[in-house]
């Protein structure tokens, strides 16, 4: 996108293009301080907002969105909390470790070393509640999705999808090759901050 014009999504939602997911997160975080929005959703290169149309007009929302996107200063994410996630690689926990290794022409140990050697950023959460798209994957590990998605992927599974790594926060179906699994609880339904992995957080995987 990167089209810095406000575009209408619906009679109560607008979107604006930005340069990167990092910029989207920064703008979204500041927009969330404005109480006029019911949802503020960063994308990989956009920020979208939703209002109650009986209380706020799209024009009002658009002015605020444009203003905030216009004076975006990239947030310093080096200061963002680093979350260390213990991972059991391979075996039942990472049934596709061998497949990823073969596809990337690496040994399973090299895959583990590259995957746990990188520092990731939670670019966006989407797909399923708390599912984290992690940017920062070593390009040598970029892997195609499975031809047939698994019907049951257990919560905590760590996968690779294209140039992202990701963690399934809940049991569900999924098409990303799985290299490992963490036992760390990634959300608590009753907590005020329900998700450990918020957009912008930095992540490192620690092999167990």
């Amino acid at each position: 996108m990167a089209d810095r014009r406000v575009t209408i999504l619906s009679d109560r939602a607008l979107t604006i293009g930005v340069a990167s997911a990092a910029e989207a997160r920064g703008i979204a975080e500041r927009l969330r301080q404005e109480v006029m929005f019911e949802e503020v959703v960063p994308g990989l290169d956009s920020v979208s907002v939703l209002v109650n149309p009986l209380r706020k007009t799209l024009q009002e929302a658009g002015r605020v969105l444009e203003e905030f996107a216009g004076r975006s200063t990239p947030i310093d994410e080096r200061a963002a909390p680093l979350v260390e996630i213990p991972v059991r690689y391979g075996g039942e926990d990472g049934p596709d470790l061998g497949r990823v290794a073969r596809a990337c022409d690496l040994s399973p140990d090299e895959v583990i070393a590259l995957h746990s050697g990188a520092q990731y950023t939670v670019e966006i959460l989407g797909f399923l509640p708390g599912f984290a798209y992690l940017g920062g994957l070593d390009p040598r590990l970029a892997t195609e999705r499975l031809a047939e998605p698994r019907l049951r992927v257990p919560a905590g599974s760590v996968g690779i999808g294209g140039s992202f790594s990701g963690i399934y926060s809940l049991d569900g179906s999924g098409g990303w090759p799985l290299v490992g699994r963490t036992g760390m609880a990634l959300f608590d339904a009753d907590a005020e901050q329900p998700f450990v992995l918020e957009p912008g957080r930095r992540v490192r995987f620690v092999p167990q």
Binding site: M1, T7, I8, L9, S10, D11, R12, A13, T15, A28, R32, E38, E39, V40, V41, P42, G43, L44, D45, S46, S48, L50, N52, P53, L54, R55, T57, L58, I124, L125, G126, F127, L128, P129, G130, F131, Y133, S169, L170, D171, G172, A189, D190, P194, F195, E198, P199
Partner: protein
Amino acid sequence: MTLNVLKPGVQTTVQGSPRTGLRHFGMPWSGPADPLSLAMANRLCGNDLRAPGLEVTFGNFECLFTEERLVAVTGADASVTIDGRPQAMHRALRVGAGERVAIGPAQRGMRIYLATGGGIDVKTAFGSPSTYLPGGFGGHEGRALREGDRLALGRQGPAHEGDATPAELRSVFGTSTILRVVPSAEFERLTAKSRREIFEKPFMAGTQIDRMGIRLKDNPVSLRPAPPMNSAAVFPGTIQCPEGGEPIILGPDAQTTGGYARILSVATVDTYLLGQITPRSQVRFFLKTPEAAVADLVLRERLLESWLGGQSARSFSSA
């Protein structure tokens, strides 16, 4: 003090206020697919309009109350009986202790709502009592109801047996649905021919309709080629179009981001209708400007206010 499930039907879930404000965590809204019908049922029981009630998909539901309660049934047309005695929909009905409420098959529309005085008493998950089936949380144990389930009930507030929704405010559902829509972000990706045909020809709702979305067939849509889109926000009511040309209208449990072209969005005033579109029924789009769509919403709210009070907007809003 419980509602005991005798016949669960194909999919009955507890739904109430949606799980809003968390879409940046990937959290879908959930909540009733037809929030207006649940609001009407809650109104008759003296509840908050978004109190947790039962969403009964396709009907065929039966339950027993261990204590006296007012109940109301709204939404898709269906027969209602209390211990075999025929009852009306859209009416505050008194159910005695030990009596059974039975709801027949849905005739027109797809989802029936059963509200009880004081609402269904369930724990909230992420701030909402609504069931999100793919995540297995919210509602009653995060799942659809089964025979033998016992649901705790809230305390009956002030309400009047025999109260009925004014006839002119009752929604009527059928085998053809016209949805007011506004153009969305990727509307321009439609070919000139599709931009015309999408409003001229009817679609047919697919056979697989769930709370995630409704797939539309029989009127294939063409998109002009474009580079792949980066994942961006979608909302319930967003109409996405994958390259295959069969649009999908997103429902209350839909994902928060997507990479398909967002061609249209259902006007807020009509989103409640999405819960009542039945498989193989006809769907047509009627184009509105965003301003006209909001004006329609304001008019409808004014109409509802006399009956639902100032909180009528809460039937669709998260605030």
